[in-house]
């Protein structure tokens, strides 16, 4: 296995697990999971125009989160319904636009072996961006997650903070599509933090443990993938699932 594959997987693991803290605490686990499919039509269009699928995925996701943000604030449709409609529409568009079946499978499950130097470079930039911005806005995210009402009364701009969060969510999903694919990136944002939540007594320890497990399950996944010759994305997620079950018996 190429060293760049390992580094890319680790960056994705860290970025997903640190942002995942707020995905779980804001009860958006299924939203992020479902949202990940929105990347598909964007990836298909990138393939069609011969550009890196990262850009297509990111563009489609940004379009989706902005749509969610405005519809949630302006209309009375519930978040669930909005995300549900976006998800099925994207899946349908993805099926039509993907040039061939094999690439669709790569899109759904990821194919890290097809990773290019450009992908590695993009992972550094985008991954670094997600980790940095999450840390910078950590207090804001924590406050608005804990109590919107209290945060508002203390002058925090809840809407603005939500928008930043949604953009980061789009970024982390776009980041992960190469490694674990659209079907499984959602799980990578949920698993490490869920394990951490079972084992920690404070927000800070939960965050630190989440990142630790994000790295740990990526390493376990890489080893399992090599040892059992199974796809890396699936190996990472399954390592996480097993650790999650173990964490229930702490």
């Amino acid at each position: 296995m190429d060293i760049s594959v390992i580094i890319v997987s680790l960056i994705v693991g860290v970025a997903a697990s640190i942002l995942g803290v707020f995905i779980i605490l804001r009860r958006l686990a299924l939203v992020s999971d479902v949202l990940s499919h929105v990347a598909l039509p964007g990836m298909a269009l990138s393939l069609f125009f011969g550009i890196n699928v990262f850009f297509g995925a990111f563009a489609a996701l940004i379009f989706a989160v902005l749509g969610i943000y405005f519809l949630e604030n302006k209309s009375k449709i519930s978040l669930e319904a909005i995300v549900g409609i976006m998800f099925t529409t994207s899946l349908a568009l993805g099926m039509i636009f993907f040039p061939d079946k094999e690439q669709l499978i790569d899109g759904l499950f990821g194919n890290i072996n097809s990773i290019t130097t450009e992908d590695v470079f993009l992972t550094y930039i985008l991954g670094g961006f997600i980790i940095l911005i999450t840390l910078v806005f950590f207090r804001n995210f924590a406050h608005t997650t804990f109590s919107k009402e209290l945060a508002q009364s203390e002058g925090f701009s809840v809407k603005k903070i939500n928008l930043i969060f949604l953009v980061l969510l789009a970024a982390v999903i776009a980041l992960g599509v190469k490694v674990v694919g659209t079907l499984l990136i959602g799980a990578l944002t949920i698993l490490p933090v869920s394990i951490a939540k079972n084992l920690s007594g404070s927000l800070k320890s939960m965050t630190v443990l989440s990142v630790f497990f994000g790295v740990f399950i990526v390493i376990l996944g890489i080893l399992a993938s090599l040892f059992f010759s199974i796809p890396l994305g699936a190996a990472i997620i399954l390592s996480g699932s097993i650790l999650f079950i173990l964490s229930l018996f702490k």
């Binding site: 605490l25 207090r139 404070s202 927000l203």
Partner: protein, 239 residues
């Protein structure tokens, strides 16, 4: 000196009048109590002072306001594993202080918890606190921001009378020690009588204002709450 003057303040929500022509001034260092039945607009008045609702009229500060706010009740997620220390640190002025608080900030947090006899709760999860403990933490947290005015919206339902009696002398003592001016929403006439320097009765409009002993007459209370409301004696008053 008046730290705050409010002139002809009116608030409407969707054309419904919540407050009409409220005028009063807040004397520095003197505890002001807001009294009134449910739905009288007391919490809305706090929101106007905090700048959270649109209003007509004037709110004039004669000193740069630093407002500490202890909300009555608010929704929060008990599933967030936030400790008391972290909850107070949300008030810290930078993200870095949240992640890696300096020794000075930690000492300051402990000091404020100690004021409220709550120093042992520092590493407890917020979701595991009793309502009385949580209220103390909210006060400590509001004071951590070094306010010159403290808005205290009293929760009634979940605090027992004894707990209620201990929090007011504490607020009064702390207001002297840390020099802030408390505005207290209370539902308990005895507490207002005993701890407030001035009182304002609200029921969408101003019903009375002045020192509790001169304005809290039976006639006034009848007008504010309807017949049959008066003083009763707490048996555990001076425990």
């Amino acid at each position: 000196m008046n730290i705050l003057e409010i002139k002809n303040l009116s608030v409407k929500y969707d054309k419904i009048q919540i407050l009409k022509n409220i005028s009063f001034s807040l004397k520095e260092g003197k505890t002001l109590a807001l009294l009134g039945p449910n739905g009288a607009g007391k919490s809305t008045l706090f929101k106007a002072i905090l700048g959270l609702v649109d209003y007509e009229g004037e709110i004039i500060w004669n000193k740069k306001p630093k407002i500490g706010f202890v909300p009555q009740r608010f929704d929060f997620d008990k599933g967030v594993p936030m400790t008391v220390k972290e909850f107070i640190l949300l008030h810290a002025n930078s993200n870095w202080n949240f992640w890696a608080p300096s020794k000075e900030i930690l000492k300051n947090i402990k000091k404020h918890l100690k004021y409220l006899n709550a120093e042992k709760l520092i590493n407890k999860k917020i979701g595991e606190l009793s309502s009385g403990q949580f209220q103390r933490i909210l006060i400590a947290r509001a004071l951590f921001g070094k306010p010159n005015v403290l808005l205290f919206d009293e929760p009634t339902a979940d605090i027992d009378v004894e707990g209620e009696m201990t929090i007011y002398p504490l607020i009064r003592d702390l207001s002297k020690k840390l020099s802030f001016t408390p505005i207290v929403i209370s539902h308990d006439l005895n507490i207002v009588y005993e701890f407030a320097d001035n009182v304002i009765c609200l029921n969408k409009k101003m019903m009375c204002s002045g020192a509790p002993k001169s304005v809290l007459t039976q006639d006034q209370l009848n007008e504010l709450y309807g017949e049959g409301v008066g003083f009763y004696v707490h048996h555990n008053h001076h425990k």
